[in-house]
Amino acid sequence: MKNTKKWYEYLWIFSSVYLVLGFVNILFAWIGMICFMLPLVISIMKGSKAYCNHYCGRGQLLDLLGNRFRLSRKKDIPPFIRSKWFRYGFLLFFLTMFGIMIYNTYLVFADVRELKEVVTLLWTFKLPWSWAYTIDIVNPWVAQFAFGFYSAMLTSTVLALITMVLFKPRSWCVYCPMGTMTQTICKIKSNGKLQ
């Protein structure tokens, strides 16, 4: 039985602060790249899902809200969500949306399009977000990427919270694109080692 808490068990604070900072200044969204790159680096270098298992602040936050604050119904997730076609399909969809976001950033970089100060929630709802970008201190494309990246982070957080309430606290982990991607990398790396 674990008695003392380790430093990484408090990473839910990092995730919470990150979400709040996006409301203060959109450029903080760039910090989220850590949550994007680190799981990939760990899985490629170490062939493990240590990020999901120990360092994912979002997973810890969902755990805290669902279990400690009893916000989750703790019901079984519908089996189709854990099916391979859904998980890989969602990963493909997420990567496509990410690609579109990168393309939009490029258009702003190439002066083809102007910076759009909006956060797109659930890939549909465009929320005005100009109050989080008041001082022009960076190139417009840097800000455009921040708006796009924060949209992806906020959208995934909203989905994670909905499934946390409806099903089990960490239901998001079942279809998390990063989790699917890192598990696939681990599968490829461990090919032959598994029974």
Binding site: C52, D63, R82, S171, V174
Partner: protein
């Protein structure tokens, strides 16, 4: 020990956790809650239960977001 409590713990001890490995997403929720540290994530692909350490408490079953852990009754010789 109270007879009822004794019977309950005996019933639990007869069980063990089993993971449907092909469906596992290797999130580690089960390993994090296991009081005996009987679960490991193998190569980041699936969770594996050490049957010798498992006491069949069912905490992993409750925590598993994919609901792919079942409590199975141990065979007589195991028990």
């Amino acid at each position: 020990m109270d007879q009822k409590v004794m019977e309950k713990s005996m019933r639990k001890a007869r069980k063990k956790a089993e993971v449907m490995q092909s469906e596992c997403v290797a999130c580690g929720s089960c390993a994090n809650v296991c009081p005996r540290e009987a679960i490991v994530i193998v190569h980041g692909v699936y969770a594996k239960v050490n049957e010798d350490l498992c006491i069949g408490c069912g905490k992993c079953k409750t925590a598993c977001p994919a609901s792919i852990i079942k409590l199975e009754v141990r065979d007589n010789e195991e028990y």
